[in-house]
């Protein structure tokens, strides 16, 4: 049998020599010629253009040199604005329901049946509160952001974004389709990493995977929005505060895009050197989105899936938070030791030990960073009048409460800004790390993709803190 195959292979080798090198081109030409003949036989065109004039007109504007980028910026701002404004009210309602109504009921029920304090603490103060907080904070913005994003996607806008950004990407030595995977990353980095499969060249695909983390993901938008509302919104007159906080959040998102380009450029000049590959991107016709169907599928496919993931990680994290704040070593609790141990390094970065510990606890999911920070802050500062005591993730009925706690924890405008920066530039969440490993099948690149952003985050926050303090004195 193997001998027969050998005969085929040697014949094909001989023939390959005789037909010359341009076989591939000849074959493609043959296919094109056949396709043209068949199409000419059965297709009659009454119009001349492939696109309807309206499509062409829209494309002329949204991909134009002058208007392309401002329109992209406005779209992003519009989606964010709707998300921020729209999410406020349902968030407050969910908070009231889950934290102020159901939580006390559960607590009362637990004490009525004489549940031991540690069981009650672990499950209600730890697991339940963390989960409830994540739902209240995450569900509304996701339920708005995802459908809006999906509507833009269905309309056909994403390939235009890729078209606009192609030049920039090829200038930094990356693939133009990275614009698409970057956009997907704004929803979820794990999804963005999977989407890089559309990039043919392994080199450019690795660049797209490693830099996807700079797309501010859905788990981080709420953190940005909350901190910007409290600290950035507060430094301008109140009628401007909404605008200022949205501006700050967009600024961070833009910084992320800048770092995507910057690190792509560095990678393609150093460890991932190579040619930029060319590609064809078909601009699909604009299709009126099927509104209700899109809303439905994006709620089911994306929002609920991502929310479920958040809950899945929040529940055990809630237990961990409760445990580290209740396990005593000597006369201090474990969490306090950890926080004080990291305070010095935190100060150098313009952050603090609480934030660093929160980021360690929150490696599984960025969504739980803020609840963790608040809980730990209450514990170390011993602020009275908030929450239920040690290790309890408490209710936040108003943004003012949150602000009071953070200020009591020694937060300044610098802490807020650096937290926003660090939230953008740190390691990917565990799901994304796992996805990167599955896609690259390389431990080395997974480690690079996980560690590089943390180091970069340390450097940037350190520089900002030093310059800030220099100027403040």
């Amino acid at each position: 049998m193997s001998k027969d195959i050998h005969k085929i292979l040697s014949l094909s080798n001989d023939l390959r020599w005789s037909i010359g090198e341009d076989f591939h081109d000849h074959l493609i030409e043959g296919i094109y010629a056949d396709a043209a003949q068949i199409a000419a036989h059965s297709v009659t065109k009454k119009g001349q253009r492939a696109h309807t004039p309206l499509d062409t007109k829209i494309d002329r504007i949204v991909t134009s040199r002058t208007w392309g980028f401002p329109i992209m910026f406005l779209m992003l701002a519009g989606v964010l604005w709707l998300t921020i404004i729209g999410a406020n009210y349902p968030s407050a309602m969910l908070g009231k329901l889950l934290l102020e109504t159901i939580y006390p009921m559960l607590k009362n029920g637990a004490s009525a049946i004489g549940m031991p304090w540690w069981l009650d603490g672990l499950f209600l103060d730890g697991v339940y509160l963390a989960t409830a907080w994540v739902i209240a904070v995450m569900l509304p913005p996701m339920a708005i952001f995802f459908p809006l994003f999906t509507l833009l996607e269905d309309f056909g806008y994403l390939p235009r974004v890729a078209f606009n950004m192609d030049k920039l990407f090829s200038k930094v030595g990356a693939h133009g389709k990275q614009a698409l995977t970057m956009s997907m990353g704004f929803g979820c980095n794990a999804a963005g990493v999977v989407a890089t499969r559309i990039i043919d060249s392994p080199r450019e695909r690795l660049i797209a995977i490693i830099t996807n983390n700079f797309s501010l993901c859905n788990g981080r938008w709420p953190t940005q929005i909350l901190i910007a509302t409290i600290f950035i919104g507060a430094i301008v007159p109140s009628y401007l505060s909404g605008l200022a906080s949205i501006g700050a959040v967009i600024g961070i998102a833009m910084l992320g895009i800048f770092f995507t380009f910057f690190s792509s450029w560095v990678l393609s000049r150093t460890v991932l050197r190579g040619e930029v590959s060319t590609f064809h991107l078909e601009l699909p016709p604009y299709r009126p989105p099927q509104f209700w169907k899109t809303i439905y599928t994006s709620l089911i496919d994306r929002t609920l899936v991502v929310l479920w993931r958040a809950i899945y990680f929040a529940a055990p994290a809630g237990a961990v938070i409760w445990l580290i704040s209740n396990i005593h070593i000597g006369d201090t609790v474990l969490a306090e030791r950890l926080i004080h141990g990291m305070d010095g390094f935190g100060y150098l970065l313009g952050l603090n030990g609480v934030i660093l510990l929160a980021y360690i606890v929150a490696i599984p999911a960025n969504e739980i960073v803020i609840p963790t920070i608040l809980m730990l802050t209450v514990m170390v500062t011993g602020v009275n009048g908030f929450g239920e005591g040690n290790g309890v993730l408490f209710e936040l009925d108003s943004i003012a409460d949150t602000e009071a706690i953070l200020r009591a924890g020694g937060w300044t405008l610098l802490t807020a800004i650096n937290l926003m920066i660090f939230s953008l530039i740190h390691n990917p969440c565990s799901t994304t790390i796992y996805t990167i490993y599955k896609e690259t099948k390389s431990l080395k690149w997974t480690i690079v993709a996980s560690i590089m952003p943390v180091i970069l985050g340390f450097i940037i926050t350190f520089l900002v803190a030093q310059i800030w303090r220099l100027l403040a004195h």
């Binding site: 049998m1 027969d4 085929i8 094909s12 390959r16 043959g30 999906t150 269905d154 016709p285």
Partner: protein
């Protein structure tokens, strides 16, 4: 949105005409009779066709490259159970990106009973490049001429009879997002799967005589050793290009 009338056939008045025989089985792919692959250029509505057949709600998006892995689902029609695999959209099967490999390997090694090739009716010529490549690999295919509404909007008319004759496979016009043409598509898939329709797929003709000579020589050799191979000519193409995957597949017998 404009309502577009698809070319009415005799079938429309026939009592068997409906999706009534269609049972959407979601992801339950146990004990299937036939395997159907769904291939086509990016952004032609493969996932929409997939959802229409399986009742699944796979996310569809208006950008090329949305489906990067393959998705599977099932449906049953006329007492037969079908598994359907949604392949990534590709422009060709000749290069080596991951999405093209996924699509090609499934059609080549997965040996689906029927391959539905979904094309954008308003851009038929460009889409045909992939169609012709698929027809070199498999004998059992149905052309789903999708997005007929957009073709109409662009004033493109297609003679489906001539097209079917030229390609040698059934051609079904559809507007998948409105479920139009799905019954006819099911019937065509069923007929090809059960052998009621025999396809005589078009084989690439416009090839330089010198190369054609080499190809037929090699094809003859392959055929003499693997008489049952349906795509010996395509294997010859790949061998002449020095495609390692195919050489290895030939060596370890995964092709037959």
């Amino acid at each position: 949105m404009n309502k577009i009338e698809l070319p009415k056939s005799e079938c429309a008045s026939c009592p068997h005409y409906s999706t009534e025989g269609l049972k959407k089985l979601g992801v339950d792919t146990h004990g299937v009779d036939f395997v159907v692959a769904l291939a086509g250029n990016p952004n032609t509505g493969k996932s929409t066709v997939f959802n229409a057949l399986t009742g699944l709600k796979q996310h569809t998006g208006n950008w090329p490259g949305k489906t990067v892995a393959r998705a599977e689902g099932a449906f049953s029609f006329a007492d037969k159970k079908y598994k359907i695999v949604d392949l990534p959209g590709t422009y060709s099967l000749l290069s080596t990106s991951i999405d093209e490999e996924v699509a090609r390997d499934f059609i080549l090694f997965g040996k689906p009973d029927v391959t539905i090739i979904v094309v954008d009716a308003s851009r038929l010529e460009r889409n045909l490049n992939l169609v012709l490549q698929i027809l070199e690999i498999t004998d059992h295919a149905v052309l789903c001429l999708n997005l007929m509404d957009e073709a109409k909007r662009n004033k493109v008319e297609i003679d489906t009879r001539k097209l079917a004759k030229d390609l040698g496979i059934p051609v079904v016009p559809t507007i998948a997002r409105d479920q139009k043409g799905i019954p006819e598509l099911l019937q065509a898939v069923h007929d090809v799967a059960t052998g009621k329709i025999k396809c005589k797929p078009h084989r690439i003709k416009n090839i330089n005589p010198k190369i054609e000579q080499a190809i037929s020589k090699l094809t003859k050799e392959i055929k003499s050793q693997f008489p049952d191979l349906p795509n010996s000519r395509w294997i010859a193409f790949r061998l002449l290009e020095g495609d390692e995957t195919i050489i290895n597949a030939l060596k370890n017998g995964t092709l037959t």
